[in-house]
Subunit: 426 residues, 2 copies
């Protein structure tokens, strides 16, 4: 039953049925949240043993003998830097550990560009008409960082192989284009892993601006939903080959490995950027929380430990993704009202509803007690030009609630589609 091909009378009848179902949903008084990529309670429980790892009798010294409770060791514990370098596939000597938030490190890095500049250029804050490339749909919080700092956000379409590189190569000829946000593996929200060609073309960009920087947020580097991980070509190595290592900043965190609120963030970059960022941090703080680093080191141990932990997460969240996908399929397939992603990792399912319907779907869901990510959030300035993309975050609610929420979601997609197809007079 393709909605777009239904005769008007049948569609009107269908709409009435959908409205009746919707009212009965409203009567249920649901209160569910699929808005953010927030791990569920069961996932938090996976790291609870980390809370037992340090106690008042523990040896709290780092391998270099320094006391982790005191000031010092601003670069972080060497062994944990090494573990991050393996996760991020970058050089360990170029890793800087931060606090609990990689977003914070990205923000600070943009802030560093704003006040002190990169590559010997005038600080961004003193340059007019700066632009930043935002592959979209993408991560709202990335876009907002550069919006906060007064960049003009430029939408670059996401394709099944990553950002549209023809567009990117064209844009970087403009010296006012200062950078690009990337989530290269299991992209938020599309789930796309950048192809080898995309990674190579990024490494070989020849931007007009010497202070153009790629923000490579490998947030989901070990966050597989299947037993085989997606292959992502190593940008660090490709940049080294191309002599462009100073063009990229690399980020990751344990926020979705251990505790979202109390994880460890890390970044890496080439020599010159490293020196710039380390200088900034040397003024900014006396050092990160090393006790929490020690907890992470003892708990995760090494890359195998990380992988074992991620397998446990997968066991808990893969069924949630499956539930969402199976609802989308059973409720919507053949109706021509939506297409959606089938991610092999990450935290999201990206749903494109009929153009002009995304806001209405989110509104309908909200009024029946299911909170979704705001429509448009995945685009710069929160404005989806087609009003079509909705990001579904399946991890937080238990499967039972998720299925209820998805029933409503699929209903609202159809109802919004019927409203749209019948036009404003309906």
């Amino acid at each position: 039953m393709d909605f777009t091909k239904l005769p008007k009378t049948e569609l009107e009848k269908k709409k009435k049925e959908l409205e009746a179902s919707y009212r009965s949903f409203q009567a249920k008084g649901l209160s569910l949240n699929m808005a953010r990529g927030k791990p569920g309670q069961d996932q938090l429980q996976l790291s609870n043993d980390m809370l037992d790892i340090l106690n008042s009798k523990s040896d709290l010294s780092a391998s270099n003998g320094q006391d982790c409770r005191n000031y010092g060791m601003s670069e972080g514990l060497p062994e944990l830097r090494k573990l991050f370098s393996e996760m991020m596939e970058v050089d360990a000597d170029h890793v800087i550990l931060g606090g609990n938030s990689s977003l914070n490190m990205m923000f600070d890095t943009v802030a560093c560009g704003m006040t002190n500049g990169f590559g010997g250029c005038e600080p961004w804050g003193r340059q007019e008409h700066r632009k930043f490339l935002c592959p979209s749909p993408g991560y709202d919080r990335h876009f907002k960082v550069t919006e906060y700092f007064g960049f003009e956000l430029v939408t670059v379409p996401m394709t099944p192989t990553g950002p549209d590189m023809d567009a990117v190569e064209e844009y970087v000829k403009d010296s006012s284009v200062k950078g690009m946000w990337c989530v290269p593996k299991y992209q938020n929200p599309t789930g796309v892993t950048f192809s080898d060609e995309t990674v190579r073309r990024i490494a070989n960009l020849k931007p007009a601006a010497k202070d153009f920087r790629v923000f490579w947020d490998n947030a989901y580097c070990v966050h597989d939903l299947t037993e085989t991980t997606d292959h992502l070509l190593n940008l660090w190595e490709e940049c080294e080959k191309a002599g462009t290592l100073e063009m990229a900043f690399f980020f990751a965190s344990t926020s979705k490995i251990t505790f979202p609120g109390s994880g460890i963030a890390a970044m890496a970059c080439g020599d010159k950027n490293f020196k710039e960022i380390r200088t900034r941090y040397s003024f900014q703080t006396i050092g990160p929380d090393k006790l929490n680093q020690l907890r992470h080191l003892y708990f995760l141990k090494n890359l195998d430990g990380v992988k074992a932990q991620m397998a446990k997460h997968r066991t808990l969240i893969a069924p949630k993704f499956k539930a969402v996908l199976s609802k989308l399929k059973s409720e919507l397939s053949g109706k021509n009202v939506a297409v959606w992603s089938h991610p092999r990792g990450g935290y999201f399912i990206s749903v494109d509803v009929l153009p002009g319907c995304a806001k209405r779907v989110v509104e309908l869901c909200g009024k029946a007690g299911v909170k979704l990510t705001g429509a448009g959030a995945t685009f710069p300035y929160g404005r989806d030009p087609k009003d079509s993309n909705i990001r579904v975050a399946p991890t937080y609610p238990p499967v039972g609630e998720l299925e209820q929420a998805m029933d409503l979601f699929c209903l609202c997609i159809q109802l919004a589609a019927a409203e749209k197809l019948l036009g404003p007079s309906a």
Copy 2:
């Protein structure tokens, strides 16, 4: 035996004796550090029970029911905000909790001024010739933050009642003067607590610049060395009376209450600044480490808990201050080669040696194995115009080592004085 009044021959004889003693010190091969205000191992031990407070079986929810392990609650735990408001004597609704470093919050606040500005003014980063007032001797890391951001550092003399307010009132008539660093209680390094008049005059400043801001770093607000705390007039209240609350940012942390590397930092400010800073943090991070906040809340409990904890610190460090002061007295009094502070709180003893001798004293101590804060560090750009001030940090070494280090320090002060008084030909 006043060195400055000794006949040349006697001073030469004295110098030879001092040199002989110095050589025997060198032979001892000491390796001691009095450079930074770093708590000693015994002090770290005072908070070790905090590591047992949370474990895998704990209730990890905040009083509002939210799980402290997950994302969210960007403003921090309400009860801990309240505790900080009592410590800082500010309004609880205007407290923001941060990560482990109040220096980081100060840095971020200056960075906010740089990129986004305060009071509706042009961002600092877009204003030429900005200046910042630095009461000196003062805290080197404060000065360096504003140096990093390109401010011209203006030295304001510290007096026994706080910064020279005649000078401050004159300087703020210049609209390029954008702020002032203050450690109002047990100032680093002088130990001075600002007088009531000083606090009132600060609250009643009429700066030409609308974006002039006082950075009120109450780092030692509960860090008494005696049983009676110094009285510090409440700047928050004085500013409210004067209608100048937007002129001040207030900071504090538990770095020297619990663990220096894993404490909790906080700041407070008036409505408009609060909105500006909260906006920045809403882009910068998804929230602070709430598990560590929960540990602190359970461990410290309330202001009485903080005071009890500080009494334990006092028991450990007051004897160290006493040892330093008693060495200074027994070795140097009557010799007219140094004057020093007698702090009632804080972390430092400030020693003024003969003009032109501070660098030499630090050099001599270093060559015999005792590391001191670099001479000049307590002044803007690390340049003490008189080359006279040395900051002594007694807390880290055990008393026995401290006494050895002080013997050497006092010897070096005398030797440098003798060298100076005898002139370059000697």
